[in-house]
Symmetry: C2
Subunit: 645 residues, 2 copies
């Protein structure tokens, strides 16, 4: 023990004393890291693409198929619309990517839509953006893992009945990896990420070459078309298909939320990573849709579009086919990881602003926000179980949150450019301390972001309307509920801070009278230990016995006369065999008559057994008494433990 830093009256300080012991947790998530290690946990562009882009890139694995699923309502003849729809989606992707590139440079400390909206639009839009992002992160985990498991069951149909269990198992696996910390998970995930890109470009390249040379042909033995009722091709159907396809854009904002994870120069590294990601994503998505339509892929829960494409391109289920399936599964699992990076960061931000329980802002033993990681895994697993791990069932819930946050982020940026245009050429700080700099091209940038906000806003509305009945209504109810919860939590913390504040606090007079009440169920060593403690607290001790059996009470009374040291005993007869209620009633009467300077302590004798399961063998009256008396002002409850065994 080192007692140092004795400054002033009587403060002792002990530093770096406590070394956590090695336990099962060490084995699972690694040895604890001291706080001083925090700033070193950053990543470069190469690993950054693997960690933050996997979400966006992996959506190519299901976006095409979800477009076809909707078009199939009008029969296979409608599949011709898939490519034009994909082109429109890539156009939207271009707008969103360029907009977020600007966000990254304006907000080098990260935070994405929530921070941008908070600084430029105000509290309520920021909370809406926060709710949207949290929902989005949760759904990303549910959708990506379900889609990953769908790849596995495409190759091994025998596993189809176990898809929910396999999905939940994978969520827990990613959770553990993330509890270890971001650098290690980044390294673990870099290889499969680039393996996926390699396999996909190989598939798409081979496919395009064979299509040009006319040797590609169609899918052999495609799964049967699951929809049989054929509708007309209406604009509404096209818009629904478009909405499903916008799932391809999910995850684009991930980098802007995680800039602080990048190595310096942060903004530059993050921005370049974002542009690379947008380019790769757009190219892959267009090529996959083109080839899927060309070979006549049929959308199906039993076999994914990627599986059908790969076995057609590589002429059978050989090694290359298996490579594509493995790579796609892995990148989809990694996509989850993006959420596992983003969700805890955002909830910590919200917790620091008092909108979520403050525990979410505490770093765990590995310097990550452990509680946020575990919360995400729990909620996502629940969603997977509720929706039976079906991507098609989850998709209608998915993209609303994404586009809502896009819209708010870009509207916030547009507002910011307008504010910067009002400045002189000198630099200023905005309300939150971020640099706000005059930009000669502010008008152009304002228009660009404003246009982006309008586009994504319209897409969000289209999505909400066309998918309303399929499940979007759940999200439209959830979002305001979340915002209400944020505001409730903030109000709670504020009123608590006010109640605990020391302003206008006059020193309280010392305790004038200290009454001690001691419930006794029998006279034994535990009771006498408690009695000894009670007499040390005060001379005013009353023992209370609740009697359900007059003979028992007589015996107790005789024993008390021998051992009770002259302390007064009150016997409460309880003809209805209730234990707690008469006691609480009695204590309540005394508490209600107490003087302001009077303190009442309830001393409860309690024997404790070293084996916790023996607790089942005893009535846990002390715990119930504590709960019942928690709100009586001036009443303190003390258990005096008596260790047996």
């Amino acid at each position: 023990m080192s007692t140092e830093d004795e400054n002033g009256s009587s403060v002792l300080r002990r530093t770096a004393e406590y070394q956590p012991p090695v336990s099962w947790r060490t084995w699972l998530i690694g040895r604890p890291l001291p706080t001083a290690d925090a700033p070193h946990q950053t990543i470069g562009k190469f690993v950054g693409l693997a960690v933050f882009a996997s979400d966006a890139l992996s959506s190519t694995a299901y976006a095409t198929q979800e477009i076809l699923f909707i078009l199939a309502f009008a029969g296979t003849v409608a599949f011709g619309y898939a490519f034009p729809i994909s082109v429109a989606i890539v156009g939207l992707l271009l707008i969103v990517t360029l907009s977020y590139e600007q966000v990254i440079h304006a907000y080098p400390n990260g935070g994405g839509a929530y921070v941008v909206a908070r600084d430029n639009l105000g509290e309520l839009p920021a909370l809406v953006a926060g709710a949207a992002l949290l929902t989005d992160y949760i759904l990303t985990v549910a959708v990506s893992v379900s889609a990953g498991v769908a790849q596995i069951t495409s190759a091994y149909p025998d596993l189809f009945p176990y898809r929910v269990a396999v999905s939940v198992g994978l969520v827990l696996l990613v959770m553990v990896v993330n509890l270890r910390g971001v650098r290690e998970s980044g390294a673990a995930f870099a290889i499969p990420s680039y393996f996926f890109l390699g396999m996909m470009f190989l598939t798409v390249g081979t496919g395009l070459y064979r299509q040009l040379t006319g040797s590609l042909g169609a899918v052999a033995n495609p799964p049967p078309l699951e929809t049989t009722v054929v509708q007309a091709i209406t604009p509404f159907l096209i818009l629904r298909a478009f909405s499903s396809g916008t799932a391809a854009l999910t995850g684009v904002e991930a980098i802007s939320n995680g800039i602080t994870a990048f190595r310096e120069p942060r903004s530059r590294n993050a921005g370049i990573t974002l542009l690379w990601m947008g380019g790769i994503l757009g190219t892959l998505f267009l090529c996959i849709t083109f080839l899927a339509v060309a070979i006549g892929v049929v959308p199906s829960e039993a076999e994914t579009a990627i599986s059908q494409l790969a076995r057609t391109v590589f002429q059978g289920q050989g090694l290359l086919y298996l490579g594509v399936i493995v790579a796609t599964t892995l990148i989809l699992i990694m996509a989850t990881n993006t959420s596992f990076a983003g969700f805890p960061r955002l909830s910590a931000l919200l917790a620091e602003d008092a909108f979520l329980p403050r525990q979410l802002a505490f770093r765990g033993s590995r310097l990550v926000y452990s509680r946020g990681i575990m919360a995400l895994a729990g909620i996502a697993s629940l969603l997977i179980i509720l929706f039976g791990a079906s991507v098609t069932a989850l998709i209608p819930l998915y993209a609303i949150g994404v586009f809502l946050s896009f819209t708010l982020a870009q509207a916030g940026m547009a507002r910011r450019w307008r504010n910067s245009g009002r400045l002189s050429t000198s630099e200023e700080l905005d309300s939150k301390g971020e640099p706000l700099r005059y930009d000669p091209r502010w008008r152009l940038k304002m228009i660009a972001n404003g246009f982006g906000a309008a586009c994504t806003g319209v897409v969000m509305l289209v999505f909400a309307i066309t998918k309303f009945a399929d499940g979007a209504w759940i999200v439209l109810l959830l979002m305001p509920a979340l915002v209400a919860a944020f505001l409730y939590i903030q109000r709670h913390y504020r009123s608590l801070a006010a109640a605990l504040s020391l302003e206008d606090y006059g020193a309280m007079p010392p305790v004038a009278r200290h009454r001690v009440i001691m419930p006794v169920s029998g006279v034994h060593r535990g009771t006498l230990a408690a009695l000894r403690y009670a007499r040390d607290l005060s001379d005013d001790v009353t023992a209370v016995h609740v009697s359900m059996d007059p003979d028992e009470a007589k015996r107790l009374q005789r024993k008390w006369e021998q051992w009770g040291d002259g302390v007064r005993l009150v016997i409460l007869d309880s003809p209805y065999r209730l234990l707690l209620e008469p006691l609480v009633d009695y204590i309540g009467e005394i508490a209600d008559q107490r003087q302001p300077n009077e303190t009442i302590t309830i001393v409860v004798p309690q024997f404790v057994s070293r084996r916790w399961w023996n607790g089942w063998l005893h009535t846990q009256a002390a715990i119930m008494l504590r709960l019942a008396l928690l709100f009586k002002p001036g009443v303190v409850i003390t258990d005096v433990p008596y260790q047996v065994e």
Copy 2:
């Protein structure tokens, strides 16, 4: 408040003061009954037959069918063995009934196999009997409710997919009825009981008449035979079928366990009820088996034998058919009630002997053993869920416990007659205070009971061997495990009593030194309220702050210098951001150095919010600290609550 009965030094007594308030519990299970009401809650022969015989009588609803299920392995040609097997089972029933009639007169205070074995054979056989009976009660609930729901799904096949949910719902319904108390449940169940007897004798009578007049014919559209692989008719198969049929005997012992529920003269009333029950049961079982074979009933999960019999006898699914189904369902649900009467009584007996948690011996607000009733409902529901509410799947677990308890009860009675034969003609009391009387016919009675013990013992062995692979092994493992648990619990209570005993207890010296340690996370009104309390306890107060952030610690230190009233502050630096561990470590060091007369109190400031769900918004450090320090001798933990809102 009436303070009366002031006898001796300073004992106050308050009588009949506390009136429990009306709540949702009142609505569900009725108003609380005072202890003084206890002896009035007894029943006569008529209601007694309804309450205690429903278990035995209801087994006629499935015993025949379970015999046929096994014989079906050898094809329908083997069904001819069903009637001879039933005759053998009725012979066994006669032996068992006569034996229990003797038990009832020897043990007017009830208790059945457990008490008989305890008094005459010793502790271990008694515990085995207790384990067997408890298992039997649980299985009776599971089997009877499953069989009852099978009647419903025979008439309404659409309900078949919901059979598990319906079964669990019914178990909970019977639980609530029993929580109200035995007299009311007896009255509620008397009408359906006699309705069942009426309907069954009508069915059997009509069937026999039509069979004699040659107009009965065969079952129309019987369900398909579910077994297709045909075995030979071996003695093993016949014995397996016999074992399944012995399910008809379950419940015969119920009356001997519940004699105290009968009106005086208890033994006479209970004995007559038992004989009536045996006669009715044997007659019904034989008639049903005879008719089932005659009309070619096919055993099936989809339609019960009773349903096939009723629609053949009454020529279609008319009103009389429906009456039989309703009556059979009701009696099967009532059979559950027998267990709900027996299980709590027996577990209270075992709890009084310290073999089960003592809470099971406490009577609830309606004078019934509420905890036993709820435990039974919980475990039986679990079994129903695990076995998918299938009677055929549950049957192999069922009768071992029953026959084990039969064997032990009769062996105990045989031993008792031998002991009584050694007496002179004068009456004596046995070890437990029951009258042991010389009986001139003791040799005859000893031989009768010994023969019964041998028969039921052999049947138990046959059952265990022929049903071992089907599920009997579960019970054969469970039984020793239960006995081991009984012994473990008794040892725990004994060592506890020894540890708490006041024998050789020298009065402890008063507390010489009282140290107070107060963890502080911040300086606010809650902290100061706790500090005020701590200073009232002792002059030796140390405040301890676990610091994860040096700046935060500096701020706290400055605030403490202003508000801390000169009390010493220790700051523990925690570089691994652990809160509890350094604190427990620090307190542990001090506790280990403490003198015998020294007490250490940990005063924890804790703000409590009236809305319990706000607890999620705070770290519950006080609870964790309490758990971590529970086993440090000489350390008392006190939460000083500070109410906000």
